[in-house]
Amino acid sequence: MSGEAAAALNAWPAKLRRIRALVRKETYQVLRDPSSIAIGVVLPLILILLFGYGLSLDVKNVPLAIVMDEPSGEATELVGALELSAYFRPQIADSMPVAQQLLLQQKVDGILHIQSDFARRLSAGQATLQLIVHGADANRARIIQSYVEGAVGAWTAQRAAQGQLTDSPPVTLLTRIWFNEANDSSYFLVPGLIVLVMTLIGALLTSMVMAREWERGTLEALLVTPVRSDEILLGKTLPYFVLGLIGLAVCVLAAKFLFQVPMRGSLWILLGASMLYVLVALGIGLLISSWVKNQLVASQLTMLVTFMPAFMLSGFLFDLRSMPLLVRLITYLLPARYYVALLQSVFLAGDVWPVIVPNTLVLALMAAVLGLSSRAVMNKRLI
């Protein structure tokens, strides 16, 4: 064995010992500072509970004002059909001005206006109903429109079956929503929330760590020891990585047992992808904090580059394909985008390899790049 190789071999135990010492120091620091534990364990629990229950895009029990210009058997029957539906809570308004006032105060979400000649025109086969919705929440308004259309369509189909009307539309759609038959919005919101929570706690855990050492001057003390910069970074990352994984476990358990989101893929893929993602999130925090050296700016930057983009640009709520090209290009830089795709597939669709492989590769690449650049930034800072 040449002397050089032996020296390299001898260097390893020393390196490991230094890393172990750093990990131990950092672990003590984590354990003694309750705020880190709070970020790693309590924060995910609170957030997933709050948001899991609080966020929903399901439209049920829509308050709907109904104006009947002239009561008739048919109009009453239609209102009865709406009352039976779980989607509406119809209330009769005496006149259009009254109903409009209700809509203005947002006491109702829409007005269904049944005009005076409804019964007569219905028997002639050409009745019109007027529907006014409050457009402020356009997504909800659109859903309400389609529900009203569906309810009225079902009512006319029922009358047709009873022989009172003979007409069926030329083409009907027979739709199925795969992976989410019941159209329950928490199925996709909860996996998305896991991404949001992990992004935030991962980056938060590390973002202040280096900046704090710079600000307090303790990093210089660390630098005069034989510890090398990659060892410092590794020592800083490991304890927080474990903390991040605990947070992840909290989230996944809540998703499965509290919010009953199905887990159709394998747990191993979920775990592997999540470990990569925690590394990426920790890396972002490390990079920011070794770059800016200032806790105030580091925390603001972390918030700006993690939380809001993961909320708005990750595909968790809004469809990425509908964004303009420039914005879509920016979303490719966002790790959250890949993790959202992974989690939504693993939770709802199963082990879909064409989704899993490319997204995992990108995350692995990002973790590597972030690790290397944190080291580069730190090395540069040392000189």
Partner: protein, 372 residues
Amino acid sequence: MLSAILRILALTRKELLAVLKDRRSRTSLLVPPVVQALLFGYAATYDLNHVPYAVLDQDRSASSRALLAGLDGSGIFERVADLHHAGDLARYIDARRALLVLQIAPDFERRLLDGAGAEVQVIADGRNSNTAGTALGYLSSIVEQFNISWRSDHALPAAPVEIVSRAWYNPNLETRWNMIPGMIGTLTLIQTMMLTAMSVAREREQGTFDQLLVTPFHPYEIMAGKALPSMFVGTIQATGVLLVAQLWFRIPFAGSYLTLYAGLLLFLLAAIGIGLLLSSVAATMQQAMLYSMLLIMPFSLLSGLTTPLSNMPRSLQYFTALNPLRYAIDIARRVYLEGVGLNVLWPDLWPLALIAAVTLAAASWMFSHRMQ
């Protein structure tokens, strides 16, 4: 009184200098709201303008082509594949290559001509069921168009009941109109609250807070000196977002600026009050950041910006009563889109005033008691 005002102004000036003299910190306060408003203004919409779909047309008749032409001509639907085997359907959905897959049966045209009514099977990728539902809604209105022209071409009577829909305040039902005014409050909340919470914590961590205490300042003067710069930064940030909404996205402003700014100032006061209260509790910057994060995330997600408040369980709705952002979003939307005045906004204004009064009073009590 005059000397108190002078002292507050001096402190405000010192604070503003501390925040704005550093180029990095200046940029990090002034640029992000505008950039975010631009980015999220495009991104945050439930509207779809690009729906990839695949079709398995087993009929290949003039009628099925006419129906598909309606989709392709919509400018929204984009056909990514013509499938030949039923087995391919699942592949396109699974790999997210298509949001919708249509299957037209071989007897499509025959059934249409017989008047028996034809069915088109549609499968949607429900991994985001809201997007799937919206796409299905678009699809059904295109099919509705097809039905209307089919009926008139074949001298069939029109549909027995026709629904004429109108949406008030947002005739084209664009979600962007709703989102961007809501962002005025959201984008300012994060940084103003954090700025306030961290600025006191930093002084405490660096030991300069003690120096401040030995000066002739009253606790409430120190507080005012911390609050005013944040108000200033917040107002500028809000103005930036407002300008983006009007000049870039060209969303018509229906109300009065005076009303909007009155509401926003009250909101900023409440947000800063919360920030000050947090900073009086936190011992270190890390704690201050943690506490403000713990509030900012729920505040911004449970504010009605992206999902309606009325969908929340009752207990959470009570919690949102403490959320200043909830009122700010309502104020911004209603002033911006509906043009309502202060008299209508009363239910939003008094809770904000209450939150501001309680938090500011509590913070000043905490400051004066920590000093002894």
